[in-house]
Symmetry: C2
Subunit: 465 residues, 2 copies
């Protein structure tokens, strides 16, 4: 029997006793072997794994260890590993690799993988690597497409067949393309000017009479994207219409390449992760990344939040004389802020995620806003009643309960309004609705919540004391 789908000769099964039993963490074991100056053993150990796992082991190493390990592998071997990684993983593996080593590896890679890696390097590093590459020509046109565009995701190695060819000659082209054709499962049909005309599955080709003209058994390729189409849109099309691949063509119809569904699984997962991280204020972070990068990622967000927290503090400060007279008000400040923040986050998360999933076309915005305001009203009434009772009984002051309950009602209304309104507005302004929305929403709920709570308390001061 041959080796399994895309893997090397001997493989590491996930439940292989070598992984779960003797060797706890293959990446650590590999690093230990490198550190113990046993490079031959390390490479032999590495080669037992699937290419994707080899990539993770290598990406995990420090700079000098990584360069040492890569010097023991052939550029072709490393290029084969890169083929099996997502663009971000490939970039992580390439991080810190000497320019000379990297250019030899990229020369041995497919052009789209090389372009992915170069796209993630700094401008200076990228130019250094390109200067020593010998197979740069097919890579350059791909570099013009920005990261996360269809052009950056596509593979250019797709089997193209003239629309007037016979099934037999189409199969000859499949035979030549081998691997790439097997992955797509189809050939793309073009006219004499390389304009996309349709596609035909290899199964259908194989079952057709050899002299059949391919146009007679073809599918019209209605779903295709432009090279600058955003990857999120590509993922949505593929998911929506259960496509296995999607051709990328110039607006004039000239075929450029094809995006495979497996490359978009990565995209769907990365987009979701990006949204979550943006909302939490940790854009682009990784658990395995260096500590300094984490600090740089998180600090700006923490300082921005600190700034807005001081705005809320200003509001409270304006009512210091009221608090002096009814100090119990201070006890409930975090209750007001906390509930508003949580209500706002609930709405915000729902809206941001639904936008990402394409469930919220622009015209539904107003209906959504109304829906969330109604929800805020209902939640505000129910929560307001609860806090009014608890606080009123606890501090034996029904007026305190009333003020807190009303503040809660107002705050939940603001939470619904801002939680839905802010991402809708950001999208209207063509900004990413995930990026800064959480801090804006909580600022709204904090400021409005404190203003209503302490404002009402000041107005009812004689009843409260």
């Amino acid at each position: 029997m041959n080796p399994p789908q895309d893997s090397t000769d001997t493989v590491f099964e996930p439940d292989d006793p070598r992984v779960d039993g003797d060797i706890q963490d293959p990446a650590e074991h590999f690093r230990d072997l490198i550190n113990e100056d046993q490079p031959q053993l390390a490479v032999a150990f590495l080669s037992q794994m699937y290419p994707a796992d080899q990539g993770l082991c290598l990406a995990d190493l420090g700079r000098s260890q990584k360069n040492e390990a890569l010097s023991l592998l052939s550029p072709e071997h490393t290029a084969h590993i890169l083929d099996h990684l997502s663009p971000t993983e490939a970039a992580q593996l390439s991080y810190g690799v000497d320019a000379g080593t990297l250019s030899a590896i990229l020369d041995a890679s497919s052009p789209d993988v090389a372009a992915d890696v170069l796209r993630y390097l700094s401008r200076q590093q990228s130019e250094q690597v390109q200067a020593t590459m010998s197979r740069l020509e097919p890579v350059l046109p791909l570099l013009q497409y920005p990261a996360s565009s269809a052009g950056s995701l596509m593979t250019t190695e797709c089997p193209q067949v003239n629309i007037n060819a016979s099934a037999a000659s189409a199969l000859d082209i499949v035979r030549l393309r081998g691997d790439a054709a097997e992955r797509i499962g189809a050939v793309l049909l073009v006219d004499a000017h390389h304009h996309l005309e349709g596609s035909v599955s290899i199964v259908r080709l194989a079952l057709a009479r050899p002299d059949t003209i391919v146009s007679q058994i073809a599918d019209a390729a209605v779903h295709s994207v432009a090279p600058l189409t955003d990857q999120e849109e590509c993922a949505r099309l593929m998911e929506r219409y259960s496509l296995h691949y999607i051709p990328v063509a110039e607006p004039d119809g000239r075929l450029l390449g094809v995006i495979l569904v497996e490359d978009l699984v990565d995209v769907a997962v990365e987009e979701a992760t990006e949204d979550m991280y943006n909302m939490a204020g940790i854009p682009g972070e990784r658990v395995t990344g260096p500590l300094g990068a984490s600090i740089l990622h998180r600090l700006p967000w923490l300082y921005i939040n600190l700034g807005t927290a001081f705005v809320a503090a200003l509001v409270i400060s304006a009512f210091e004389s009221t608090i002096t007279r009814v100090v119990a008000l201070a006890v409930f400040l975090p209750v007001v802020a906390g509930q508003g923040g949580i209500g706002g986050t609930q709405t915000l998360t729902l809206v941001v995620r639904s936008m990402a999933l394409g469930e919220l076309p622009g015209r539904r915005g107003m209906r959504l806003l109304a829906r969330e305001v109604i929800l805020g009203l209902v939640h505000g009434l129910l929560l307001g009643l609860a806090v009014a009772l608890v606080a009123g009984l606890w501090k034996s002051n029904p007026f305190l309960g009333l003020v807190l309950g009303l503040a809660m009602l107002a705050n939940m209304l603001v939470a619904g309004l801002a939680g839905a309104g802010v991402p809708l507005l950001l999208r209207r302004l063509r900004l990413d609705p995930a990026v800064a929305s959480a801090v804006i929403v909580t600022t709204f709920t904090d400021v409005c919540g404190f203003a209503v709570f302490l404002g009402l308390a000041t107005a009812m001061l004689t009843a409260l004391t």
Copy 2:
């Protein structure tokens, strides 16, 4: 030319002028036609769309309209639509459909789609529908697999070929299976007892000499999953190793079916959404769902948070006499709580998401905890310095600045510790690390933050006043 990949004859392109120009929202236009009592026009309009879009239009209707529309479509037509939806979308479409209509539709569906729909119905509804189904036999064994298991995701309609068959006879089976074989792009090889022995791509079959024995050109099927394997694990395997499909086999090796990569794009997206919604306290919600369901989803979480907010209020209440003497302390309570909450959320989001992506094997837990505590220390020092300066200058009280700065330091440490520790602990206890972690983490940061801030203030009361 034939119609495009899996679609009906005339199609709606995303940039079709009918969609963006005259008819703003196809779903609304369709509903209007139904409401205007023009069922024939409505069905004609619907049939122009891709099956997946037809499904969304139908799912959007109210109960009686939906039943009316479905009565105009043949059960085969609706079954074809269901085939193109994700399991949750199929469940949404089936919601509220009369038992008799639904059983006719499921009789015309593939067994795994029928099982998906039945799995989402209430026990009573499911039994009602099953009672009138005539093709229940192939569905029943699938119903035993819980939702989100490999067994519930697989399609049983996969082409199986005996390992000793010739390439020619394998192609005959492909010819018979048609659509299913085309989707998988491969046939699965089994021995006489239907035990999985490997697979061979259809491209390779087509290119082989007709009398070649398939075992000679086969891939050993190293990656297979058990029917009870969780869908998250399946998605991880497919993404990691860029698989197009993954066979599902009993532990003894008997082949049950195959999961296709396109079904796992849905899974990857749904898992990410689920994590985000669980963390925000809106499990299982949809923007398009009924208002009452949203209230039921969000209220428990809001009340739980209210409970923990009162715990934090208790801490503040214990220091009321201190606040009476230094009322400026009240001004900074939300600053302490807010920053701790945000720091905790940053760590928590990173950890929960990394766990979901399989980037955090159990043995890395302690290293991660140490990393986040160090980050908390660094952030605490930098933020603490900033708040100490601002608050000290603002209130012209350096001791107030000192107390606030120290509280910030302590709070960011707690944020790192709880943000990483809570999800790690939840996972160790085999609970979902996303579900209740946010409320636990913010309770920790609130309580510790207030205790340190007000405790220090009380200790330094003479210096503060």
